[in-house]
Amino acid sequence: MSKTRIIVLTLISLLLVGIFMGSTSAMEKEVLLYAAFDEPTLRAITDNFTAATGIKVKWVIGGAGDLCTRIRAEAGRPGADVLLGGTIIYHNLLAEEGLLATVEAPNAAAIPAKFKDSKGRWFGWYVAPWGYVINTKLLAEELPGVPEPKTWEDVLDPVWKGHVLSGHPATCGGGYDLLIAQIFRFKGLASLFGFEDSLTAGEKAAWNWFEALNKNVTVFTTACPETIALVAEGQGIIGLSWANDILVWIKKGYPIKLIVPPDCPYAAGGISMIKGGPNPDAAVKFVNFVLSPESQAINAKAYRWPLNPEVSPPEGAPSWESFIPVMYDLKWAGTNKDRLLDEWDKRIGR
């Protein structure tokens, strides 16, 4: 063996040893998360938690639907302690399936009753509406003179054909919230016009709305923030996504703006503790910490409207009161999910 060969071999083994050392660091006190959340904010919150308690936090980031599937598949032997983020529709579904543990969190007292489980199995801790992200530069170049969409009907105009992006209801929570919100928006209209079964009428009208939308949409993205990225980078003029994520992107300096039409979908992001997780004590502490004003203030920096009324709303964002969210039945949204998604498959088919 030549000298150089020995050197290279030593380098490789050093690399190996280094990697081993890195991956087997001591882990006595920790809490494991499934997070449907953005990494920078998650890191800021967990760093504060670790500083306060000495408990380390590890996570997998994924779509809320994705993580729920994992929790179901791992029932009885969960791979994580806490599900963080994702709309409370998902948390409520998991609770109904008996997969969540009850948590006594003193900090939950400040959360309005409407946004938390009466049995203490899940808690909402922030809300965000769903709206349009418009690439104003592209709009001026491509379709000069066409007015920006202001209502949910405006986006159906054939002039937008090939310029619209939205989230897929099966893979991103927001896409499903949009579907539900449209059903309940039309339900409201139907009951106004005196339909007896306003929900069925509303659903029928909502499907017509989506079939019309489908004609204009180029891509239903698998995750909601993807839509904003694509519009910001100029791959489409209108995107449908979360207002908080849109505000983050506006701050980055892209030529985009946010419009939240009336009767907007909204989602409350939740947190819950998974039943039978490996670190229950640490998990309870973490859930309580996330509900605290301290962590909610960090979260507000990412433009999510905190549900703890003591915390001031995000700076530079419209007030929550300026939105007109459409109210919907949380339980109906959960129990009809499979049926609605099958219907989507049949009618929209992508």
């Binding site: 081993f20 599937t69 100029g234 088919g349």
Partner: protein
């Protein structure tokens, strides 16, 4: 005393064979059957009645031949230009041709969107309008992503062709084109068929590219993913997985059959003429132009990423920044990916070393079957393997989920056939004589293994380790189902960053992964004293 020794080694040999078979049964057959038996007959019927499934199947059967044919043409021209011309820059072209192996394939899709999207760089520059989301974009991206594999396989065959025949044709008055049609192309056809089937399996089970670029155009693997994560429908997903597996299995069986029945490439003891008749004139420069164009395209794809890693905000603020590189600190993705890949690569190479000696070279009842099982993972799509491991090892008797172990094992299994085939290719060329000679001279089977077979397989061990390492470090479709908190991989992190629109972070991770892979390949090729030739040529 002597008899005793023989008996002991005989038992040891048997024990090794039995252990290998056990491993195969648990980690190859068990997950496969777990998936196939998971859906009930009813679920298969529902799956077939669902328009979404039918559409995905149709799309898959449309894009696979299209992308495969394109890849073959590209690969053939590149390989031919390498071996049959003396054009300048051959080494540079070869380097560029192999680059896509070093990165997760879906990185190409990401870069492609930035360049050729409706308002991408190139699109704006050329002032044209097209929609790359859908099959067109997928077709182009897959053509680049799978091109190196076709190139390697075809180059290996072209190299093996005895040029005496081509020179003879030339001497008999055939012109260049005629020689090509009547000698070179027919002689390379078995390799071409093999490359076609291998690429087709890859394209058919490709997950990363379609999920990024073909959002509105589902293919089988993305539809399976959507059934699992969107619809929580493991039964439906497993039923679709079965369709995927049966299709790739048929391709795989055809490939095996086709190759065993005719082999034109003869490796005999006599000297083989490797000096090729060179093509000159216009053809040469046309090929030069083609290779330059394609290499530039690849450079553009990776250059875009490298620029993205240092850019403040893509498309808006072009000032340079290092801030995204901070993600590497405290992130477990990259070290995990490297560790996984090292272990999986080594494991697969070791396993195959033993398997080629204790399964392939031995005669026992059911040998053919286990030989087949060893090669079976070639035909198992990544997404199938991931779900199979998830279903098989999440409940007793084998509980492995929630750690690195299950990821290492799945990637190891996935890499076995590659290493096994490389070993067999060498053992077939050598013939059993040397080992028999050792046995006749009184060596035990174990000793013959250690002193004869292992040294012979040293180069194939190193090359299959390198290839296994690269495949594992760039894998997304298997690990995406097996990650757990704190145990994620770079590829999953990249996909996550793309989905949250964090292009800078995705570009940094991709660049770092790419650089590390390049470093490892550089080291390995230095160790084996052969430049990029260490890549497995396969059979």
């Amino acid at each position: 005393m002597r008899i005793n020794c023989v008996v002991r080694s005989f038992n040891l040999q048997r024990l090794v064979t039995v252990l290998l078979i056990f491993f195969l049964a648990i980690f190859v057959l068990f997950p496969v059957f777990r998936i196939l038996l998971y859906p009930k007959l009813k679920d298969y019927m529902i799956m077939l009645s669902r328009p979404g499934s039918i559409r995905a199947i149709k799309h898959s059967f449309f894009i696979t031949p299209l992308s495969t044919l394109t890849v073959l043409c590209l690969g053939y021209i590149f390989a031919y230009a390498q071996h049959y011309t003396n054009m300048p820059g051959k080494r540079v072209f070869k380097f560029f041709a192999l680059l896509p192996i070093l990165s997760p394939p879906f990185i190409i899709a990401l870069s492609w969107i930035l360049l050729f999207g409706p308002h991408g760089f190139i699109t704006n520059f050329l002032g044209i309008r097209w929609n790359i989301f859908g099959w067109r974009g997928l077709w182009m991206v897959q053509s680049i992503a799978f091109f190196p594999y076709a190139y390697l396989l075809i180059a290996g065959v072209l190299e093996g062709i005895d040029s005496n025949l081509e020179f003879a044709a030339g001497n008999l008055g055939a012109n260049g084109l005629r020689t090509f049609w009547s000698i070179t192309l027919p002689l390379s056809s078995p390799g071409l068929v093999n490359a076609a089937l291998m690429v087709a399996i890859g394209v058919f089970s490709d997950f990363g590219n379609p999920i990024l670029i073909a959002g509105g155009w589902p293919v089988l693997p993305t539809e399976i993913y959507r059934r699992v994560i969107g619809y929580n429908d493991l039964e439906g997903a497993a039923a679709l997985c079965a369709v995927l597996l049966v299709s790739t299995l048929i391709l795989f069986l055809v490939a095996r059959k086709g190759l065993s029945s005719r082999s034109y490439v003869t490796i005999t003891g006599s000297a083989i003429q490797t000096e090729k008749p060179l093509v000159g004139g216009i053809t040469k420069w046309l090929m030069f132009g083609f290779c330059s164009f394609f290499s530039l395209l690849i450079l553009l794809v990776y250059g875009t990423l490298a620029v993205g890693a240092f850019t403040e905000t893509w498309g808006v603020n072009w000032s340079l920044t290092l801030k995204y590189w901070r993600v590497l600190r405290g992130s477990s993705g990259l070290p995990n990916s490297l560790l996984l890949a090292l272990l999986a690569g080594l494991g697969a190479s070791f396993f195959s070393l033993f398997a080629s000696c204790f399964i392939y070279k031995r005669r026992f009842v059911g040998k053919q079957f286990w030989d087949f099982v060893t090669l079976l993972p070639t035909a198992i799509p990544g997404i199938f393997l991931g779900i199979g491991f998830l279903l098989a090892f999440n409940t007793p008797p084998f509980v492995l989920t929630g750690g690195l172990v299950i990821m290492v094992l799945s990637l190891l299994v996935w890499n076995i056939p590659l290493a096994y085939q490389a070993n067999i290719a060498i053992l077939e060329q050598i013939g059993p004589e040397i080992e028999e000679a050792a046995l006749n001279l009184g060596a035990s089977l174990m000793r013959a293994f250690g002193n004869v077979t292992v040294p012979l397989l040293r180069t194939s061990f190193l090359s299959s380790f390198t290839m296994g390492f690269l495949r594992a470090v760039t894998n997304l479709s298997i690990v995406i189902f097996l990650i757990s908190p704190g145990q994620t991989t770079a590829t999953v992190q990249i996909l996550g960053s793309v989905r949250y629109g964090e292009l800078g972070i995705a570009a940094v991770l991709a660049t770092a992964l790419f650089a590390t892979a390049l470093l490892i390949v550089g080291m390995m090729s230095f160790l084996t004293k052969k430049s990029m030739d260490i890549f497995v040529r396969g059979r």
